[in-house]
Symmetry: C2
Subunit: 232 residues, 2 copies
DNA sequence: AACCTTGACGTCAGTCTGACGATAAGACCG
DNA sequence: CGGTCTTATCGTCAGACTGACGTCAAGGTT
């Protein structure tokens, strides 16, 4: 470090891996890139900091709102990892702070600027190398799915895939689809109702679905699962 | 975003939360800051990227080597989180990518440049607000300790606190000290020897410690614990 | 040799788990 | 209206796991 050394500065981007369960499959939100590099390829939604002073978490929430039209408040949004290998963007040095967002199966309000290019893509179609994504976004999605899968075991994250009110069956379908594994409905019911603060009964019941009406729950105050619900 | 908008760039720093167990307590490596801001305060070791092209993971390994004299190869080094609130550094906008390093209880080779100012500080003295650290480093240490505590449950991370060869008692002391919780030696022995690929016996035994010699183990190929070793 | 210390292994009751049976409560269909 | 299908909820039971704790092994110390 000689006397003429100055602190190097780089561009900071924020990318989002937005996951949801729809049509019995795990999906990730992707956009078609309209500009070089990787023009025409699918990519994670994201962008650069809007100003030099923007908080990173705020930038993530802003991008989520811009790309999905959803308000970040109430949705699950957590930092995933930062990807900073040189050369991952051919234009310039970019360090990307990636976030994992979990949203219920809501219709994307396709109004708004960038959101029109956004679409849901099944993750197995992305991870199976059927499509090559822009940058290192394939790896990022793999990391995001790994994180989500393992957090289902130890936290109440699964409720973030559900609407505010949901049944135990809906919650079980989340586990089954994210894990790609069938679960016994009776044992699952016993486990989730046994965890203190996981589920809160609303008193309401479903109707009209054919079959015995299910009790409708809301997510409880717990954030970690004691005991955990482990994969086999 | 008007036409004159240009991509903002910020300074990227890499900070390290290096944890070890020594003298029956969990310690974190801290340095005395020699420059403003926060001159004279304790801070996490770290620094800016050396060049605009340096990989972030490489920068973390380089800082670890510079500050501890240890070779990052063989040590546990994982990304913890990125802290990017504006104003966390009063000089300029800095985004810090933090890493969690776990090292065995080795004497710090105090040779080398920055390492002379580095010292081990018990984490409970830091977290108890007994000392105010520079920047948001107190929060970062709290996050690092949380991560370490919870990874002991589900991964083989505890072996990273041990020398390459260790006994089950030494491993148990790691759990007890990191968790601040006493564990039954007999049940612990049963659990760790029951996990496939966690421990590999070397065939050697300890001697001269007073008491029955202990079998010496080496870490096995497993990285996750099935079943986990849960806190109460 | 008696005793202390630490490690390794056993016992046992209570709990949790997975596999699966039984019942409840609706829709659908003749 | 009763039979049947579907889905939800509750129960049963054997095997695995857990925590609490006893026993023996194998070295030092006095």
């Amino acid at each position: 470090m000689d006397a003429s050394w100055t602190i190097p500065t780089v561009a900071i981007a924020v990318d989002l891996a937005v996951l949801t369960v729809r049509a019995e499959r795990l999906h990730v939100l992707l956009v078609n890139r309209g500009v070089e590099p990787y023009r025409g390829r699918l990519a994670l939604p994201g962008g650069f900091l809007s100003t030099e002073d923007e908080d990173i978490d705020v930038a993530a929430a802003r991008e989520l709102a811009e790309e999905t039209g959803l308000d970040a408040a109430g949705l699950h949004l957590e930092q995933l990892r930062t990807y900073g290998a040189p050369g991952r963007d051919p234009r310039m040095r970019v360090v990307t702070v990636c976030y994992l967002a979990i949203v219920p199966n809501l219709p994307l309000p396709s109004a708004g600027g960038d959101a029109e290019r956004a679409r849901w893509v099944p993750v197995d179609r992305v991870l199976g190398r059927r499509r090559r994504l822009a940058f290192d976004h394939g790896q990022i999605i793999a990391d995001a799915v790994d994180r989500a899968r393992s957090k289902l075991e130890y936290t109440t994250l699964a409720t973030a895939f559900c609407n505010p009110e949901f049944t135990i069956s809906e919650l079980r379908r989340v586990y089954e689809i994210v894990w790609s594994e069938e679960l016994d409905a009776r044992n699952f019911h016993r486990k989730v109702t046994g965890v203190d603060g996981f589920l809160v009964a609303t008193g309401k019941r479903t109707s009209g679905n054919g079959g015995r009406p299910a009790v409708i729950y809301r997510r409880g105050p717990a954030t970690v699962l004691h005991p955990p619900i482990l994969r086999t």
